[in-house]
């Protein structure tokens, strides 16, 4: 869009650096490579401002402050403060000028992370986001035509903020438990949040006829409906284009539908022009899949990351058994110091269960990710093999020790070394155990009772 000459401001609402707690040294090294890639990519894309989220502080506030040397954009946080001085650790706000208008940007973090933060960083505090924001917006209003909040407060606090502070012109949401996108107006303040799990780009087009302060916008349900209609048309168009690109086929029905959708899109765009006689904005959530081409410079960075990341995960070398080995010989090849002993060892006493397990999807779980690219396999191996992280970390399915492929008995019941009698083997496999892998993202249709039946196991309480 910038290359097309459009005047744009580019923001991220925060939590951009880390995803999950960095449990092992390798995960930490991998995460640092990702951070380098992300900063480089955000620089390349020309981000203007990024808000600080609680996950961005995972490696400590100093780590994030040091990054400001390489990042061409500022990290901001209005309510992350030094406990003694009560001053901001990062810039509390940024004012950007765009087409003659001054836009004040504020970054907020949820104060529910205060205690977790203080365990790591006793010198910091998070002030109440709503009162802090209110105090700042009042003074910023003097200089700014528009005030934008980059929020990590979650949906309900965003609404509370909108109700409490009418000086705000726009809230871009993030943080909290997000189940769906948000597109609504509370107290005339628009709150937008994209679908969780990334993959979308939000865009708000502003059009002004009268820039005298205070700026007022023309809002109506007719306009809102039009906006939603346009969004549906864009999403469906992208879906069809993605399907066609994946299948490589030019199906006649789909081409017809595509033409129809594109003509409807033009119609709606024309109707939108009538609103431009007043101050006006519209929001679009755009699926990134095919709408944005890969940038060669960024793709080079991605390839570099993948190559370096693959070097991090080195498996403990366990020689694969030859096909002709008997079960007894295979068991003999399992290292004596391995915490996990493999289903083949369990079979000695639990033959019925073992034979039953062989028929389940759990037994073939490693094979289902063979076709995925290498970097995706790294992400998936934790749940598609047994004992990952406890006996070493490996990068591809081929590197899984021969006796730990698939989701075996020990993946759910605990490692079997020392069993029976000693060892950490747990007999109860509760819903919580299953949920470690059957997350809502990866296993949306998971049902504890039904899935236990599939693998022939009993319910545990």
């Amino acid at each position: 869009m910038k290359k097309e000459g459009r005047k744009i401001l580019l923001f991220d609402t925060g939590n951009v650096l880390f995803r999950k707690p960095l449990q092992t040294e390798n995960k930490k090294r991998d995460a640092l490579l990702r951070v380098d890639l992300l900063i480089q990519s955000y620089n390349e894309m020309g981000y203007d401002v990024v808000n600080v989220g609680e996950k961005d502080l995972m490696m400590g506030v100093k780590f994030l402050l040091d990054l400001t040397g390489t990042a061409k954009f500022p990290f901001i946080s209005t309510n992350l403060l030094d406990k003694k001085t009560r001053k901001g650790i990062f810039k509390p706000y940024v004012i950007k000028e765009m087409a003659g208008l001054k836009i004040g940007i504020i970054g907020l973090i949820d104060d529910q992370y205060e205690s977790a933060l203080q365990e790591k960083e006793p010198g910091l505090t998070i002030s109440d986001p709503i009162s802090t924001s209110k105090a700042l917006t009042r003074s910023l209003r003097e200089y700014c035509d528009l005030i934008v909040i980059l929020s990590q407060l979650g949906e309900s606090l965003d609404k509370k903020l909108a109700r409490a502070d009418s000086e705000i012109d726009l809230i871009l949401g993030g943080g909290g438990e997000a189940k769906k996108a948000v597109n609504e107006r509370v107290n005339e303040v628009p709150i937008y949040r994209l679908e969780p799990r990334g993959g979308y780009l939000g865009r708000i087009d502003y059009s002004f006829m009268d820039t005298k302060k205070p700026i007022k916008f023309s809002i109506s349900t007719e306009r809102d409906e039009l906006e939603k209609r346009l969004e549906r048309l864009i999403v469906r168009t992208t879906q069809i284009k993605t399907e066609m690109s994946k299948s490589g086929k030019q199906e006649e029905m789909k081409i017809k539908e595509l033409k129809f959708l594109e003509s409807k899109q033009k119609e709606v765009e024309k109707t939108f022009l009538s609103f431009e006689e007043k101050n006006f904005y519209r929001h679009l959530s755009i699926p990134v899949q095919l709408s944005v081409n890969d940038d060669p410079k960024i793709m080079k960075g991605v390839e570099h990351y993948r190559a370096e990341s693959a070097k991090i995960y080195k498996p403990k070398v366990v020689s694969p058994p030859s096909k002709d080995l008997s079960e007894k010989e295979m068991i003999a090849r399992i290292p004596k110091d391995s915490l996990f002993v493999g289903a083949i060892t369990c079979k000695k006493c639990h033959e019925v269960n073992y034979r039953n397990w062989l028929k389940t999807k759990h037994a073939k779980a490693s094979q289902t990710i063979v076709a995925s690219p290498k970097y995706a396999q790294e992400e998936c191996l934790m749940c598609h093999s047994t004992g990952y992280g406890k006996i070493g970390e490996y990068a591809t399915v081929d590197e899984i020790p021969f006796f730990l492929k698939g989701v075996q008995c020990e993946a759910c019941h605990g490692s079997g070394r020392g069993h029976p009698g000693k060892g950490e083997l747990e007999r109860k496999v509760t819903l919580g155990v299953c949920r470690n892998c059957h997350t809502k993202d990866q296993s949306p249709t998971f049902n504890y009772v039904a899935y236990l039946e599939k693998i022939g196991c009993r319910i545990s309480k």
Binding site: L9, F11, G14, A178, R197, G198, Y200, L201, E277
Partner: protein, 48 residues
């Protein structure tokens, strides 16, 4: 007298034209976009 009316007529016509042209009515003075991302680290690829 005839000559003196010319400038007034000119101004009136100019104002009328200005009133009816899209420049004064339809075209917005200022346009820009805010583009944003959220939850970029939340992107999860299905494992299989």
């Amino acid at each position: 007298m005839k000559n003196a009316l010319h400038p007034i007529l000119f101004i009136l016509i100019f104002l009328l034209i200005l009133h009816w042209t899209p420049i004064s009515h339809g075209a917005p003075k200022t346009k820009f976009s805010i583009v944003y991302t959220n939850d970029v680290m939340g992107e999860v690829e299905p494992c299989g």
